[in-house]
């Protein structure tokens, strides 16, 4: 009896892991699918559709000023209304997506990658290097990032590239502190000691034992920062040293629309909604990834799904 049942258990275990459980987990989570779909949609709009509609998007028709949304009589492009200069909001959103996505991706990547790497290394080794880096982070942190961006962009030319660099650098301390603190915690755990005792090098311990445990936190933080970066870019634009027309991003549209909030709400609200949706999708996705990548949580998740499936049968 026992001998017979063992292979059955065994084979089901193996197929369970071979059938790419992560994909199954993904498809069984509607929120994860929806947020991925939205992010892909935005990226496609930004990099495929946007170049085709730039001219139309920037075409000003004074007669169409504050044309109200949800009407199709002036054509589909005016479905979301028109702004203060009669530019179609829908097309502006599409063109703005390109800038916003570019700024968000690059600024967040620069700061997250730098902060993560430096934080893990300085947290692991400690000592005076760690101290200097931390004070440096303190300095960056204490100077209001907006002020710093203001000065730098004032001296340099306000351009998308400079905007990315400035936003990237001012956001480093957030990641640096987080990854450093977590590294110091992980460093003291027993498996690091065990690795050391079998002769693992520092580099190996950092990359194999510590960094993977810090990464999910950094990724979650980075996803949260996406919206923060888009909004910072917007405030710089609002102060007049961010993007310059004809460049446009979502933040700029929100700040443009702010003045007309009473008379034409849609000018500010639509880009606002788009920012919120994008940030939310990024957060949901990162949360889901975190749950799936943690072996303990993912098994639990899978077991729960399995039980549910069994009950339905």
């Amino acid at each position: 009896m026992v001998l017979q049942s063992t292979p059955i258990v065994a084979s089901s275990r193996i197929t369970r892991w071979r059938a790419s459980p992560k994909w199954q987990m993904f498809t069984s989570s509607p929120l994860a699918v929806a947020s991925t779909a939205w992010l892909i949609f935005v990226v496609v709009l930004a990099f495929v559709v946007a170049p085709l509609v730039v001219d139309q998007a920037n075409h000003q028709t004074i007669a169409m000023r504050f044309y109200a949304p949800f009407r199709l009589d002036k054509g589909f492009e005016f479905f979301l209304g028109a702004d203060s200069l009669g530019r179609p909001i829908m097309l502006q959103l599409i063109v703005g997506a390109r800038t916003s996505v570019l700024i968000a991706i690059f600024a967040v990547s620069i700061s997250a990658a730098t902060g993560y790497a430096v934080g893990v290394v300085s947290g692991y080794f400690g000592g005076w290097v760690d101290n200097i880096l931390l004070r440096l982070a303190d300095i960056i942190h204490t100077v209001p990032s907006l002020l710093m961006a203001l000065v730098v962009l004032f001296i340099l030319q306000p351009s998308i590239f400079n905007l990315i660099i400035v936003l990237g650098i001012t956001r480093i301390p957030v990641y640096l502190r987080t990854s450093r603190t977590q590294t110091m915690e992980v460093r003291e755990r027993m498996f690091v000691e065990v690795s050391k005792a079998i002769g693992a090098s520092n580099w190996r311990i950092i990359t194999r034992d510590i960094a993977p445990l810090v990464f999910p936190t950094i990724r979650t933080l980075a996803m949260l920062e996406v919206s923060a970066v888009i909004l910072s870019a917007a405030s710089l634009t609002f102060l007049g040293i961010g993007l310059q027309r004809p460049d446009v991003d979502w933040g700029m549209m929100v700040s443009d629309g702010r003045a007309y909030l009473k008379s034409a709400w849609f000018v500010a609200v639509f880009p606002g909604i788009v920012i919120v949706l994008t940030a939310l999708s990024a957060n949901i996705l990162s949360n889901w990834l975190r749950a799936v990548e943690d072996p303990a949580q993912s098994t639990l998740f899978f077991r729960a799904k399995k039980k549910k499936g069994a009950a339905e049968e």
């Binding site: 193996i14 498996f191 002769g199």
Partner: protein, 295 residues
């Protein structure tokens, strides 16, 4: 021919904000292949840090002086890089906290086989078969299936078995076991002890078993070293020491052990003198007690 391990005049001290604390004060110890030495003593007697010093794992504020010769090679003062060659390959170590001894984000198999690919330069498939065979050796049933499991799917005892597998995987000449069974319950403990004993008999490696449990020490060792306040106060063959303890502290320890008495009324608590005045063994005039043993 030099001994496998020769420790002489070993002193380990920690510099703290309140002054210097001597954890180990002049320890001499030698052992050969096949020896099983149990180091017993109360918390804070310096036995753990003694074990760690053999691998050069005494961290920053700790200072190691004296001499530790492993196969005639001096360990004290070696650089991290040179120490790495000894760790694992020469001396393996099993730690107390088995539950956290494995990285939660990798499978058991990948952690085990990584040792072989990195340290011995084996191919992936060779490392895998080696890992599976060592899992079987430490008593994991259906090892090739469990190879793909994560640490959280293993019980505490099994995790400690894997930690032992990692420590002996590179066939070290000495295995240091630092209270490897303290975190486990008694039945599991017996299994682990038998495993370590069997492995030692099989491979002929030297064993240093650090414990505060006299019963465990008696089961596993051929020789016992009693540590008290950073010094070895008594040393001898296990059975002899249990039958004819010489040093008052050893006598007191044995008298306090429940296995020796019929009723709890016969238990002798450790005399206060040993608890409050740990510097009694040393005559160099340390004014303040360097280690305070509580309870």
């Amino acid at each position: 021919m030099s001994k496998l391990l020769e420790i002489s005049g070993l002193r380990i001290s920690f510099e703290s904000g309140f002054g210097k604390v001597d954890a180990v004060r002049g320890v001499n110890l030698t052992m050969d292949m096949g020896d099983a030495v149990a180091v017993v003593g109360a918390s804070g007697s310096g036995k753990t840090v003694l074990g760690r010093s053999l691998l050069g794992l005494v961290d920053a504020p700790g200072v190691v002086r004296g001499s530790i010769k492993f196969g005639g090679e001096e360990i004290v003062g070696k650089s991290e890089k040179e120490l790495r060659d000894i760790r694992g390959l020469g001396i393996g170590m099993v730690f107390q906290d088995a539950l956290d001894g494995l990285n939660p984000v990798y499978t058991i198999g990948s952690q085990l086989s990584e040792i072989f690919t990195v340290r011995l330069g084996l191919s992936r498939s060779a490392a895998k078969s080696r890992a599976v065979s060592i899992m079987e050796q430490v008593g994991i049933r259906r090892a090739s299936e469990r190879y793909h499991d994560y640490p959280h799917q293993f019980s505490g005892g099994m995790r400690q078995r894997i930690c032992i597998a990692m420590a002996i995987g590179l066939k070290p000449k000495i295995l240091i076991a630092d209270e490897p069974t303290t975190a486990l319950d008694v039945t599991v403990q017996a299994g682990i002890l038998r495993l370590i004993k069997d492995l030692q008999a099989e491979t002929g490696m030297g064993l240093i078993f650090v414990t505060h449990d006299l019963a465990v020490a008696r089961t596993i060792s051929t020789r016992i070293v009693v540590m008290y306040a950073g010094q070895i106060v008594e040393e001898g063959p296990t059975e002899e020491l249990f039958r004819f303890p010489k040093h008052p502290y050893t006598k007191a320890l044995l008298a306090a052990h429940p296995a020796r008495v019929r009723s709890w009324r016969d238990l002798e608590p450790i005399p206060d003198a040993f608890v409050t005045d740990p510097s009694s063994g040393e005559t160099t005039g340390h004014s303040s007690p360097s280690i305070v043993i509580t309870n």
